[in-house]
Amino acid sequence: MSAAPDHSPTMAQASLSQRLAPYAPVLLVFALMAFGLIAIPSTSSWLTLTVSGLAMGMMIFIMASGLTLVFGLMDVINFGHGAFVSVGAFVGVSLLLLLENMTGAPSLALNLTAMMVAIIGAMAATALMGWAFEKVIVKPVYGHHLKQILVTMGGLIVVEQLIIVLWGPEEIYITRPEALKGAVTFFGAALEKYRLVAVGIGAVVFLAMRWILRRTKIGLIVRAGVENGEMVEALGYRLRLVFVGVFLAGSALAGLGGVLWGLYQEVITAHMGNQSMILIFIVVIIGGLGSVEGCFIGALLVGLLQNYVAFLEPKVALISNIGLMVAILMWRPMGMIPVVKAK
């Protein structure tokens, strides 16, 4: 038996900056929190703002994660992604209104059951809508970015109008389930219960996605497909089916994000998905196209920065996220953790 020649490369110890480079995006989140701690005069205010920022970031992550995978896997720019956020919010809130006696009862179990029903209903509805959206709107324009932008934007407008037809043009106000109202006090800081729940749900979604992507074969196929879809197909995997699955999952997650965002704002409108697209795109771009981890870190940065800046200098809050995007892209032009290579 013949063997390859033995390689015994000598390896020099990488410098500290080289070794820290892969962790720099994560460290950036902690650096931002440390900045907040220094800049915000009261520790309790900092803690409140940090939890608020994390909750906001988690919700943005849930809404954006599907978009980044869809772009990474099939090179599809879906400007209609916000439609799933809106539909998810309307379906979820409608279910919560139907279950008013459960959400109004002073019972955590009943409240959470109602929330679960709303979330499952919203995710099922947006997954179904995602399937139709992909088949009718996205599939005919694979490989044509300009057409994708135009046609998915058109799809978003159509869905918004359908929401107005079905639910009416007025804003719908919603109160949170009884057990999720109010705040808990922790080290003198008032932490809204709902935000803590949102942080928990976001963390669970992120860990679940990470586990699926890292530990399962379907996750391997998705990660490989983001990198080189042609080669994945040459191995024998039907990437188109995987893509449809990812599109459905991404739509369902956007629906979940819509429910959480609606309850966070306590008001929903047909245009809420469209409005959230700016934040979603910022997060996807600074995270690095196709990267779930990058999207997660980007969302946390956006959420934290917006809350800190809104407290410190409210007028600057409007441009803080754009400023963050500019700074990140100057540092890493392909985003923090790019997966999709330049095409």
Binding site: A3, K217, R223, A224, E233, A234, L235
Partner: protein, 241 residues
């Protein structure tokens, strides 16, 4: 000549407005190594990509074991038992060596006996098993891409320039690996610019020019005929000795 496992008849492939393949006829005998030779840009890579379905043949037929695969999608073609090693290697750089191999084992978990065999052929893969494939050297990446195609037994291997840009020691490793594959009875269609490797491995040879097959015959005949080489490929045997 044994019965062909793959037959291309009058295959024409256009890429945008360019007519790359202009009626390719090719036969790959079962259990042999068939060389596809020719200068750069004559359509060798396009021929392989057309067979695997990355490019669609506009005319002609591609019969694999008697079945026309010219209209099948790439995954369906691959699942018939065709392994493909592209010219750019197609390594998943962000996945580890292990994950690359798990992914290549399409029909289920990796066969440990076959993996052990691959480790003896390419020991570097074992050394870097848990490393990201993107951190490997060029030669190690090439070993990975060949090993990935070999992790499951395929009926036909399409291999595009496996020795391109590699150091001589790695080239001989590649050649030995392909020879072992050949000894196991695999059918291989191999695009190769390195004439020494082609001469050592090939049973039959096909020379392309300008999107067509200009010569087909025994590798031995081409290897021993300097005039033929000069005429077909602008090569002289002496230049490759």
């Amino acid at each position: 000549m044994s019965d062909p496992i793959l037959t291309l008849s009058g295959v024409k492939t256009n890429i945008a407005q360019y007519h790359i393949l202009q009626g390719v006829d090719l036969s790959v005998p079962r259990g042999q190594v068939t060389m596809l030779l020719g200068r750069n840009g004559v359509g060798k890579t396009t021929t392989l990509r057309t067979i695997i379905g990355h490019w669609r043949a506009h005319e002609g037929s591609i019969l694999f074991d008697g079945e026309d695969i010219s209209r099948l999608p790439t995954p369906a073609i691959a699942r018939l038992g065709i392994g493909f090693v592209p010219e750019d290697m197609g390594i998943f750089a962000d996945l580890t060596v292990e994950e690359n191999m798990i992914l290549a084992a399409v029909s289920g978990p990796i066969n440990s006996a076959r993996l052990d065999w691959l480790f003896t052929v390419f020991p570097a893969l074992k050394t870097f098993w848990k490393k990201d494939a993107g951190t490997l050297s060029g030669g190690q990446k090439q070993m990975l891409t060949i090993a990935r195609a070999m992790i499951e037994e395929r009926r036909l291997y399409l291999i595009d320039e496996p020795t391109k840009g590699l150091a001589p020691a790695i080239i001989s490793t590649m050649a030995r690996a392909l020879r072992e594959l050949k000894d196991q009875g695999a059918s291989i269609l191999l695009v190769e610019q390195n004439f020494s490797v082609a001469r050592a491995l090939g049973d039959s040879a096909n020379v392309m020019d300008d999107g067509r097959m200009t010569w087909s015959g025994e590798m031995q005949e081409l290897a021993t005929n300097a005039d033929l080489q000069e005429r077909l490929m602008g090569l002289s045997l002496e230049a490759h000795q």
